[in-house]
Subunit: 273 residues, 3 copies
Amino acid sequence: MSQESFLSEVASNLETLREKGPLIHQITNYVVMNETANITLAMGGSPVMAHAPEEVEEMVGFAGALVLNIGTLESAWIDSMVIAGKAANAKGIPVVLDPVGVGATRLRTEAAGRILDEVDVTVLRGNAAEVSVLAGAEAEIKGVDAVGEFAALEKDAKNMSRSLGCVVAITGANDVISDTERTIVVSNGDPMMAKITGTGCMSSALVGCFLAVNSDPVLAAAGGLTAFGIAGQKAAAISGNRPGTFHVALYDEVAELNADAITSLGKATFIGT
Amino acid sequence: MSQESFLSEVASNLETLREKGPLIHQITNYVVMNETANITLAMGGSPVMAHAPEEVEEMVGFAGALVLNIGTLESAWIDSMVIAGKAANAKGIPVVLDPVGVGATRLRTEAAGRILDEVDVTVLRGNAAEVSVLAGAEAEIKGVDAVGEFAALEKDAKNMSRSLGCVVAITGANDVISDTERTIVVSNGDPMMAKITGTGCMSSALVGCFLAVNSDPVLAAAGGLTAFGIAGQKAAAISGNRPGTFHVALYDEVAELNADAITSLGKATFIGT
Amino acid sequence: MSQESFLSEVASNLETLREKGPLIHQITNYVVMNETANITLAMGGSPVMAHAPEEVEEMVGFAGALVLNIGTLESAWIDSMVIAGKAANAKGIPVVLDPVGVGATRLRTEAAGRILDEVDVTVLRGNAAEVSVLAGAEAEIKGVDAVGEFAALEKDAKNMSRSLGCVVAITGANDVISDTERTIVVSNGDPMMAKITGTGCMSSALVGCFLAVNSDPVLAAAGGLTAFGIAGQKAAAISGNRPGTFHVALYDEVAELNADAITSLGKATFIGT
């Protein structure tokens, strides 16, 4: 696929998102709930946060995608994530897993492992350390700082996708999205995105938004990360090193994204097929 | 009542709020806790969030109003809301119920029903779909986009107030506030208020603020919504379509509200008596 | 110690914070989690929020400091705070306790008392009412509005530190930091800091940041409060009375703090030794 046709598809997905406003059901952490709700709204989705075991099955039935995030985890929430994930699977609703902090504690590692075992996760979105932990030591992957570095890791990314049984979306200075056959490197974004909390979680929510309007999970994940990265670099351009100002501008720039910004600023490299 | 005397009362309530800073006890959802606390502060109230069953009864005793909100619900929280609500009733403290997402899941519908059964709710603040669900199918009400449309629904609004046993405050393009005898349509606000999460929840918190300083719940609810709507339209006027900027401006404009803004910009239509 | 050498140490601590980015483990309330995470990042620390009893012991092992905050309390969270606190003690990791709302309800008073009993708290950071409640009626202390007023209370502050067995950091118009021998009054900050929710909680998080890089808890606590106060007054200077704008500027100004701002704007008075 050419970058041009990919970006054109991302722009088309964005338009669909804003027309349809799909519900994005998020079971996520306390720190970022407001942030992921607002970034979902800014991109065109309709966020709903619901985590009670009594209601997640019903709620996910209305959703275009389900986003599971294991920050500020409690054991009862893991059960709810599994219930919601299974219900999503039964209805063909795509599922994003964001394994925040996996590897740091047994609770998080076991939770992410259990969700991957019991739920068909469509896209695993994490940083290089988190995805490496879940894919096992053999496939350990480091952060990708340049496209050239990634070329050497293409086989690893595909192996990680194979061993995890889902699309992997590894975010960092460059974002690497891969299934067992295709790999895309997205080179948008800005270091300021690491200066506020929750941008990783926001990116997972936006992958959920694009999954709701694009049935190809590699393109959907890469599309969500491209759109968010463009907004991030535009926000950084007007914010200097001021994180409060950047945080505000990030919502503004996501809301102001349009086809022109995406096709002119998007940077996606296709490796392999 | 004339619009002029109503707006003058709203301005007077605002002044009292800022002088007395009543405690507004909120048992609300994770997504908006920070937002409803900050909007309460900006209007002049003193927010406190407390939801543990062991402390809600004591805490509400210090409050000028109690605000219950069923977003991000868990069953334990419903019990706390009922305990707090009953304690508020026993002490004559007004209670606002915000039935977020009622109708979407059984948990939320049963929770809102239980609270309405066991607690004397002073004002039910929701959107048209939420209030319709609670009032029963016969009284189904659609969103009100123009005052003219509302005139036809006046009887329904009064019936909903009668069947629910409380003041109803239905927010949307216009806000409709009604008890069994009086109906007020507030035509302030801006569509940008729907572009960030939590403005509905904020409006419930502000109804709580005005209930703490005005013993007439119809006027208090209409007053809170008028004040918030004015701030919303002022914030939108300086924010364009930028939701991050609008969110920040909304707090600024609530804090800057004064008698002059309220009497010159408030738009309230009295229907019936 | 002279003000000059103190401020020079604060500036040096700030530089170390930004070089090392120590993990600051926070078990804090729902209202402010996003805010304390972002202010920690802006100062140079790395926030992590984790409260599950299964993981707090592991998580705190990676941390440079632990911050416990009893807002939006639940009984299960108290247990986690004690587990985390004991683990921190065993590893020599400093602990900050922020007793939000202590005295208002039995749950909070008992929780703060239990934490102080079972955990070696390094610094208790609260307002005058909260610290007085915990130190017992004999040592009741009022808010300090001027340095002169404080001089009379110096003995009380030392007694409170003695009876509580930790450094006390009492924030208000002036901040008073004391152990049983040394007392520092910090006169930075701005009344706008009381116009948004969470600045008290943020100050506790920042005391945690400075404890991670300064082994003298009196100087660390005073340093964190000095740095935050300077940022607060700079943010207020550009925000007028607009709380939304101030909130954004506060993160910007914390991120922009440097040695020059600290040494030129810091105001610390040493009383006693």
